[in-house]
């Protein structure tokens, strides 16, 4: 996991890359942008995936479905909690709370097929006609 600050004077906007070392998404580098507004920690950080990826809990626009980024945020949580949460999404994608319904349906009904689709998408290939970004290192 790596953070970088495009503008080093601005600590409230940064990028994060996650490289899962196990699970369906092993071998990929997944990039996120973080924006922390002035009401932090009362408001959660705004997090988006900057790549188009095939994931049950991340839609094609990069919106992330993670409870602590929305309804379950509380100000005693911190960035560390969010980083762990994001990491967990790649280890255990959650078919019960989908933003990408097709991917969630694949995960629920046929794990082998889901795994194949993930591998294809990570190589920049298409899944059912939708092309994804190549996320391999």
């Amino acid at each position: 996991m790596q953070m970088n600050f495009p503008d080093e004077a601005d600590l409230l906007n940064f990028n994060l890359s996650i490289t899962p070392d196990e699970g369906f998404y092993r071998g990929g580098v997944f990039r996120f942008t973080f924006n922390i507004n002035n009401n932090y920690p009362h408001d959660p950080p705004k997090v988006r995936c900057s790549q188009k990826i095939y994931h049950p809990n991340i839609d094609l626009e990069g919106n992330v479905c993670l409870n602590i980024l929305r309804e379950d945020w509380k100000p005693v949580l911190n960035l560390n909690s969010v980083l762990v949460g994001l990491q967990y999404l790649f280890l255990e994608p959650n078919a019960d709370d989908p933003l990408n319904k097709d991917a969630a349906e694949d995960l629920r009904t046929n794990r082998k097929n889901f795994e194949y689709n993930v591998k294809q998408s990570m190589r920049g290939k298409d899944v059912k006609g939708v092309y994804f970004d190549n996320v391999l290192m």
């Binding site: 009401n39 920690p41 009362h42 408001d43 309804e71 945020w73 509380k74 100000p75 005693v76």
Partner: protein, 85 residues
């Protein structure tokens, strides 16, 4: 040798009645400091205890309770916040 005391100054220290070295879970500033919107610690920036026993800077907690997402819950345990009497 005789010493004559000509004058003296009393000095007192105070601290909130909370365990040592604890910080407010919301702003992460020690309880004996003040919340980020205040300048000086003391009665103007006091602490608030819930019936659930959790403690915060009062300003930090009130600001959280005013946030729509708080649903009136304690930030630690998500039970309904009730201020301890």
């Amino acid at each position: 040798m005789k010493v004559k005391v000509k004058g003296w100054h009393g000095v007192a220290v105070w601290r909130w009645d909370v365990p040592n070295e604890e910080v407010c879970g919301i702003c992460r500033v020690p309880f004996d400091g003040c919340c980020p919107t205040c300048k000086t610690p003391g009665d103007d920036c006091s602490l608030i205890w819930g019936e659930c026993t959790h403690v915060f800077h009062m300003h930090c907690l009130l600001r959280w309770l005013q946030t729509e997402g708080s649903r009136g819950q304690c930030p630690m345990d998500r039970r309904k916040w009730v201020t301890a009497k």
